[in-house]
Symmetry: D2
């Protein structure tokens, strides 16, 4: 067991401090969302697609689990206004969970041809105070689900239109 290696891993950001420190506030969302295209919006359902950008890969060259969780947050939230809530007010997160079923973009040899994925958010419930959205990630070429998440939000100020 090499505890120093763990420490070095966790503090490795230091190397890139100058690049990262200069970034503007609220930069995580554009980092995650920049590649998103909206394919379909209908009542209770949002479908997006994304060519996985290299910046969102992990050390194993597959889509980072943290990026998938952040996409569950962001795309899941976008399903709430589709059932009649005002867009700027999608509440606060209460719970996010994700099951990772397979790696997307794991094949290093395909790094140059960005793998395209589909993200489907389905509102399971949008009540007066609580919304729950299921978010599924598929590889576009094969249709295979590689992650499934759920997002629960509290809607304190919502007023159904």
């Amino acid at each position: 067991m090499d505890l120093e290696a763990v420490k070095r891993y966790l503090e490795k950001g230091g190397e890139t401090a100058s690049a990262v420190d200069g970034l503007p506030p609220r930069f995580l969302e554009p980092l995650i969302m920049n590649a998103l295209k909206v394919d379909l919006i209908e009542t209770g359902r949002v479908v997006c697609s994304m060519k996985i950008p290299p910046r969102l890969l992990n050390a194993g060259n597959s889509l980072h689990g943290g990026a998938i969780a952040a996409l569950v947050d962001v795309v899941g939230s976008a399903a709430i206004p589709t059932v009649g809530y005002s867009a700027p007010n999608t509440g606060v997160s209460v719970e996010i969970n994700v099951s990772y079923l397979d790696a997307a973009y794991a094949d290093v040899s395909r790094l140059l041809s960005l793998e395209e994925i589909e993200i489907e958010a389905r509102a399971l419930r949008v009540g007066k105070a609580v919304a729950v959205i299921s978010v599924e990630f598929k590889k576009k070429k094969t249709g295979k689900v590689f992650a499934q998440g759920r997002h629960t939000k509290f809607l304190p100020l919502s007023s159904k239109m």
Copy 2:
């Protein structure tokens, strides 16, 4: 219901495309980890602290739920080698879940004095094939827990040392 507003929100990254597209591969981890400091590493337990950097805020000026989930992934993984697994091999994520209990850094007036948080990862189990880590987030000043997550990993290649 304004479906166009949802679409604009999800595709808003377009505005920042030039800034984001130039970022290097695997940029998410330094973005998330750059501010981490390791306070303690012992068998089965890792404690880090972080002054919340503005780049990780959400539109409400609190630490982004996606950033918290990514930190559950990264800091949780770091607890695995502390119980005797080789550091470069912490397996693949099977499940991540997070409960959000409170906002950290929500007070806009305190934006200039970065709020400091503590992240504690505790290995609940590191078996031959499956590891489960609990990760708790506290506000350093008050000791109040503001998020709790769990991270389950599959350790296909691990060999206990």
Copy 3:
């Protein structure tokens, strides 16, 4: 705050001790499963229906959250052999989660006409070592989803047929 009331609630079983203590080993499964009917089994998918039996209600006269979680476990596990694993070996649970979206059978006036529900388990992944199943609960009359869960199992001894 009446801590004595909490204690009385948790230890209330004492009143029914004689009835409960006489029950045979492994009684939980028949208690939960007795009302299940299998409507469909196909590769990766199992659909059951159940008229909610009064014994599975909670104090609010809706299907008990613990019963729903137990059904995620049992019906979810049944989806694993449908993709080619031998039936007696569906591994051990690693994680179960459930979102409760609505109450089923909440209307006391309808107690005599048992509400019928549908439970659909869909295998998201059955790999060599890990299986993940999504389980959705619907009210049969309206088609409305009232709970969604996920079940992750480790398949240590499985051999694909």
Copy 4:
């Protein structure tokens, strides 16, 4: 793949129909709770112990995953009134999740000496509308954690005392 075996498993309750059908309404809670003893109640924290009763075992002779989930529900709910909410009103479940780390009571040879476990519920948050409780299961003899869950409830009618 033997789909008939899956069907027989799911409908096996039929054999015990007469025993199960005669049970009174709301029987699941006494079945689960009858063995619970309250060891400690304090603000935000409830600790119970239980000798695992044979009726709650699964086919592998360990404590059934569904029983553990039901205990997360019941013992987790009991932590809410300890922070100042009126006892009869602990809201409705929004989410329950459990990680299973190890089997309790798996050794058939020890069936006669019932293994004792400890269940600790800790209120992470009890706000105006949402409560989140962490529930940990330990083997009493070794102190080893064998399951960890979280329970999120919505408190629509609560009024802090």
